[in-house]
């Protein structure tokens, strides 16, 4: 738990985040929006945000390729950062844990980009990436579970973890049967974003309000975990339904 109520630091952090969001929104407005309107099963993070974030990461990606960093090293760094995030959650450092979760998600995006740009993308790299992703997610959920070990929210953490794994497993199994089911509102970037933003926002709110309420509460993070559990389960079910329908159509 937080050692003290630090409303001033929380207010300063809020100001920095607000300025950054304002700059990000200015950048987002410059990204042209192409293509049709998203359907009901579209991811929460739309193509415009994805394009803006890729543009933001492009200099980092270029620097990594220039420094001859192997994509596998980025993948392993993602696992290390996720383990640090889990440890931070376990220790009750929700703000640090939240941002480390977002860094882990960013490294997950970067490794594929570096592999493609360096011309070393391979099925082996994709396999390592998928396996490390699951381990990284588990490390984060383990830390969250430890933080909420005395609360009913630990059950929501378990459901969110199971749902996240099922989202990826359903897609992998369907792809093994020749069906592409890359849809749903709780894909990997969304999961990192919901957990990461939920955690740091929760810590900010706790520090800003603890002077009034007398104690730090983490309602925001608990809500984010419950939402993630619901969205992950829904996405896994949608993917399974779509894959089953495609298999039924292709059956002789």
């Amino acid at each position: 738990m937080a050692p003290a109520c630090r409303s001033g630091t929380a207010a300063a952090a809020t100001l920095v985040v607000a300025v950054t969001v304002w700059l990000a929104l200015r950048g987002l407005a410059r990204i042209p929006l192409a293509g049709a309107a998203p359907g009901p099963a579209a991811p929460l993070v739309g193509p415009r945000v994805r394009a803006w974030y890729r543009g933001l990461l492009a200099p980092l990606e270029g620097a990594l390729v220039e420094a001859r960093v192997h994509p596998d090293a980025v993948t392993w760094a993602q696992l290390a950062v996720s383990m640090l995030a889990g440890a931070a959650f376990w220790a009750g450092w929700l703000f640090v844990g939240g941002w480390l979760t977002i860094v882990a998600g960013t490294l997950d995006v970067l490794d594929g980009g570096v592999a493609r740009q360096a011309g070393v993308a391979s099925p082996r790299g994709a396999l390592v990436d998928s396996l490390v992703d699951r381990c990284a997610e588990f490390a984060t959920f383990l830390g969250l579970g430890a933080f909420f070990r005395d609360s009913w929210i630990v059950l929501a953490v378990a459901v969110a973890c199971f749902g996240s794994f099922m989202v990826s497993y359903t897609r992998a199994r369907a792809e093994g049967l020749g069906i592409d089911v890359q849809l749903g509102s709780a894909q990997r970037p969304e999961r990192y974003l919901i957990l990461g933003c939920g955690a740091w926002l929760s810590d900010l709110v706790a520090h800003l309000t603890c002077g009034l309420t007398g104690r730090a509460t983490h309602v925001v993070l608990a809500t984010a975990i419950v939402v993630l559990a619901g969205l992950s389960a829904w996405t896994a079910l949608e993917r399974a339904r779509l894959a089953a329908a495609a298999l039924r159509r292709s059956a002789p």
């Binding site: 937080a2 050692p3 630090r6 300063a12 985040v17 620097a63 009750g92 810590d203």
Partner: protein, 64 residues
């Protein structure tokens, strides 16, 4: 490292500094991270402002 990379890196270091300041006993490290992050983010924003103002400076000797 390119100028564009300093902004996100500086922001990240700032956030880690704020996080340690909020929740940990490591106040010295938190202050160091806050200072480093502020310097890096400011350098990135300054580079962004220069780009927006008309591109990079070209030394007169190389001008044609």
């Amino acid at each position: 490292m390119t100028a564009g990379a300093w902004r996100p890196l500086g922001f990240l270091v700032l956030m880690l500094g704020f996080g340690l300041r909020l929740d940990s006993e490591w106040q010295g490290l938190a202050t160091a991270l806050l200072v480093c992050g502020a310097v890096a983010a400011s350098a990135g924003l300054w580079a962004l402002g220069r780009e927006a103002a008309g591109g990079a400076f070209v030394p007169p000797a190389r001008r044609r």
